[in-house]
């Protein structure tokens, strides 16, 4: 961690954030770092507790040993002091000196050191303080005071002492006892036991603990790696398989190994995939059955319809020879035959779309003449209902790779609907274009559509008002076919409407066959008024769309 840098500076935060992002993004990283941190903490905690226990044990052992030794040494010294035959100062001094010399350890490096000093309050000065390898300042006054207060017992402290010039201080057990030195009075005999060996042992223990701790952490890392690998690899495989299934590769399955939770997950995943595949197949076969039925019925109706058509044409041609009511029936028969034929044709068309048999022949064409031709096609109807069709066309050519027949059919259908539901008000046809997309909007200012109607307007055989008088004899399949036509071009057909304000149908087409409009474009803006220039201005704008490369095989 770059603990020394300021986290709020962008330069420092950037790698930190990257690290954090990486950490959050990787389950394995999270598991390993958590395991290492927790393992290290645990190892440190355990090591610290054990280490302190060991240190305390060593010192306790050394204290016990020092106390025993000091007890023996002091008894020996006291007996020697009592046994001397010299009372003069130099005799006592010599005795004390030789006794202390004999009590010191064999070598200065280890073994006990001795300090003999007059007890507090003993100022006879017969024997001055003397020591072997102990500095006077290493004997704390508190020790002497404790001896003075309780001379019947040893007094023990553990503290660092210096072992001579230029050498470091070493922790030592210091045991003080009261002795009596004939006429020289009470003295404090202090024995110092440096804990050199204990310190060495402790150093060794620390090294072992550090090595052990590092080993433990390494082991934790290894275990975490292994564990996460065992868990994340199957999860990754499941994720990959799920993506494959989502992409439509329903045959994708997971291998089931063993009987653990991961095996259960794989089994469940496979069962789910099996179930989905099965249902999709069923639905597909049902749909195909339905389509084939519609297609078959349409085809089967064509033959008797042809015969009926021929008979009807004969009757129609001879209607003048009949009485007036019969002639009228012949006319009606002829009209209904036309409608029947249209209906059948549209049924066949839609069944072709359903079966995927619809063929599209796209060429580079100017869409503007196609629009003009469609408008000319509905002009008689418009004049009949009193509507005026207003064209808003760009001046340049608008080359679009399209099947002209299908686009004409779509435009015709839209224009017919607009005129029929325009309540005699003007109908605006606007062509807008960008480099990639062309948009044709057909806007009427009639009764409009409600929200529900807008959702249903592209459904088959749906009518805005079933009771409405059929002036054009629409089959109810026109807009469904138009939507399919737009789709096979990689485009979209959308509607925007407000009840009473009219409706606007917008056809969006990619200008090249290599692209499709991948996502649903923004909704078509609703008309603002009965007749306003703002609507035309809105329609003249091609909305922002998401284009994608066309990958459809059926084209």
């Amino acid at each position: 961690m770059a603990s020394g840098t300021r986290p709020d500076t962008p330069e420092a935060a950037a790698p930190g954030e990257r690290l954090l992002r990486w950490w959050r993004g990787s389950l394995r990283a999270r598991v390993i770092t958590s395991t290492v941190l927790l393992g290290s903490l645990l190892a440190a905690l355990l090591g610290t507790v054990l280490y302190q226990q060991v240190a305390r044990g060593l010192v306790d052992q050394a204290i016990a040993s020092a106390q025993r030794d000091a007890s023996q040494q002091v008894a020996t010294a006291q007996r020697a002091f009592d046994s001397t035959d010299r009372r003069d100062d130099s005799g006592l001094r010599g005795l004390a000196e030789e006794q202390i010399q004999s009590m010191s350890g064999p070598s200065p490096e280890d073994g006990r050191r001795v300090h003999l000093l007059p007890a507090l309050g003993n100022d006879l000065g017969v024997v001055e303080r003397m020591a072997t390898g102990v500095a006077a300042e290493d004997i704390p006054v508190s020790l002497q005071e404790a001896i003075d207060a309780d001379p019947a017992n040893q007094q023990v402290v553990v503290q660092p002492v210096s072992l001579g010039e230029g050498e470091g201080r070493v922790t030592a057990v210091v045991v003080g006892s009261r002795v009596s030195l004939l006429r020289a009075g009470p003295y404090d005999l202090v024995l110092v036991y440096p804990l050199l060996r204990e310190q060495e042992t402790l150093d060794l223990v620390r090294q072992l603990f550090l090595l052990g701790g590092l080993g433990l952490v390494a082991l934790a890392v290894g275990l975490a790696l292994l564990a996460t690998r065992m868990v994340t690899r199957p999860v990754e495989e499941v994720a990959k398989a799920s993506q494959e299934v989502a992409l439509g590769h329903l045959d994708e399955r997971l291998p089931v190994v063993g009987s653990d939770e991961l095996a259960q997950l794989a089994t469940s995943f496979n069962t789910m995939a099996d179930s989905i595949q099965h249902q999709i197949r069923e639905l597909r076969s049902l749909s195909q059955l339905q389509q084939r039925f519609v297609s078959d019925v349409s085809h089967e109706l064509r033959t008797p319809l042809t015969t009926m058509r021929m008979a009807g044409d004969v009757l129609h041609a001879s209607r003048e020879d009949f009485a007036a009511p019969v002639a009228r029936s012949a006319e009606l028969l002829d009209q209904e035959m036309d409608r029947f034929e249209d209906l059948l044709a549209e049924l066949l068309e839609i069944s072709r779309f359903d079966s995927g048999a619809a063929t599209v022949e796209r060429h580079e064409e100017d869409v503007v003449p196609t629009v003009r031709a469609a408008v000319e096609g509905v002009r008689p109807l418009a004049e009949k209902v009193g509507s005026h069709v207003r064209l808003h066309l760009p001046e340049e050519r608008v080359e679009v790779c399209m099947d002209g027949r299908r686009i004409s059919r779509v435009l015709r259908n839209l224009l017919t609907n607009a005129v029929e539901h325009g309540e005699g008000r003007p109908v605006d046809v606007t062509v807008a274009v960008t480099a990639q997309v062309a948009a044709v909007s057909v806007r009427d200012h009639g009764i409009g559509l409600t929200e529900d109607q807008q959702r249903q307007v592209f459904d088959r055989f749906w009518r805005a008002d079933p009771a409405r008088t059929r002036t054009t004899g629409g089959t109810g399949l026109g807009l469904a076919i138009a939507v399919e036509d737009a789709r096979v071009h990689g485009g979209w057909l959308q509607v925007g409407s407000e009840p009473g304000e009219g409706a606007c149908f917008r056809l969006l087409l990619p200008r090249t066959h290599t692209h499709v409009i991948a996502e649903e474009p923004p909704p078509v803006p609703a008309p603002e008024g009965a007749d306003g220039p703002s609507a035309a201005r809105v329609d003249a704008q091609v909305p922002a769309v998401v284009l994608a490369l066309d990958t459809r095989e059926d084209d």
Binding site: Y51, Q67, E98, L202
Partner: protein
Amino acid sequence: MPRRTLIIAVAVALGLAGCSGELPTTPDPRPGLPVSQQSDREVDRFVAAAEEGDTELEIVQGFLRAAEGFASDTDVSRTYLTSELASAWVPTSTVSIYEGETTLTRTGPGEVTVEVQTVGRLDADGRLTEQSPRTSTHTFELTEVGGEHRISAFPDDASLWLSQLAFERAFRPTTLSYLNTQQDVFVPELRWLADSEGLPTSVTRAQLAPLPPHLEGAVRTAAGEGMRLATPAVPVDPSSLVATVNLQGATLAGDGAADELQSQLAHSLLGLSSVAGVQVQVAGQPLRLEGADGPITGATQLPFSDLEREVGQVLLRVGEQLTVVDPSQYALRDVPESALGDVDLPAVGLEWTGVSATGDLDDLAAVSGDGGSFRRWRGEQVHTNEGIGDRLTAPAVDTNGAFWLGGVHRSSQTPRIWVVDADDLDAVARPVETDWLADQERVHGLSISPDGSRAAVVLGTVESASGEVSHRLVLSGIVRDGQGRPSGLTEPLQLVPHLDEVTSARWRSAGELLLVGQRPEDPAPQPFLLPLGGWLESLGELPGVVDVVPVPRATGAEAIARTEDGGIFVPEGQEGWQPVRNGDQVVVPGG
């Protein structure tokens, strides 16, 4: 986040604490084990310390009274001294022993004279020299210290003055043990050492000291030069009474030396009532005595022993006749013929005097009345040697059966001492080296110690002025050659210098002599017992006594005295003598 910070802080603290690498310390004193060995010194005599306002006379008087307690723990006698003198005062360096009252006189400012009857002196080594009581004057110097008088200087001749009574309380006669060169027996040496807790230390110190000059070459000691106490103390364990002698400074030559050293030290220390066991260590390593496990607790464990000699029969000479008598019988009755066995005693002509006999009664020897001939008897054989010298003394016999003679060399007229070896009846008399004998001195008597290591020699010196002969007694060690034959006598130590006259000296035991001598106050010679190094003891007046012979017994030697008129006396009661028989000489075989 506070929790996370807390965890990190705890971890860091633990880590730092754990990895500090230092042993934990406890700087506050806490009680340990009880101090088992408290000083067990107790004040045993109450003597007054110097008090405020004491006069000079009172100070000196007080010091003389308190001096007895010099060895006690309080040592109040030092309070009478200036601090300089108190610090340096070694009371035992020279002790003057007096008798009777002291007379103190202030002879001037800061000067007090003490008049005492001195009867003896003790040197720093603890050797007592008795002297005839005589008045002596000692002058103490005093100075004022903080308004108080204190003794600042002692008289030159001593450092401690004790009455005889106080001396015997404060000092204890202690036997040091040296080794005989010929046998595995100890040679005792009596010393007076301060009776205190330090007595074992003093004994050890004395034992480790070099041999006194008169024993050099005559006895052995295993304490080599440079050997000393590691600590100048010999502690005695209060519960087991085991004295631990920790030595250092010299190496021991072989196991024998270690055993000898241990034997000497143990024998000397076990003689103290305060010691029940002895552990000898060299440089802290305990020495092991073969056969003894742990400390030496009895003299029987030692490879050396005290000399023990018992004589069951003594010879009584009446005229030419030698009779075996039983000394254990009160009246020295004759031993019946039946109990004698094959003892065949010769008739000793009246011209032969000073008969002596070996321990087994096989060899007898005597000198002629004129001191010019020496004769030996062995069974039927007799050999006379007339060419040794003149004025020969009565022969003394030693443990090897050799006869010792004192006399004058015929040509040079100088005193000589000869030895006639035991082996051959006609062995020549071999002079031993006695450089210290002055030409005008004459050997009047000889006695060889029962262990054969020392000789008591009665020497006579002719006073040139009066022509009178004065006798003195000396003790000399016997130096022997590789074969154990005597080759010389060491520089002697004079004994009983306070006696005016010594006519006879005979070894009673390895450490005692029986004397016939005369003190200045005595009207006539008397029998005495002299423990070597101790006070002379009178055995009771016996008018006309000429000789006292010891008869070694298991219960202690008995004395048999002979008077001029041929009366044989045995002791009766504390200081009385009982006539038991008549005879010309009592001969103790082997001594």
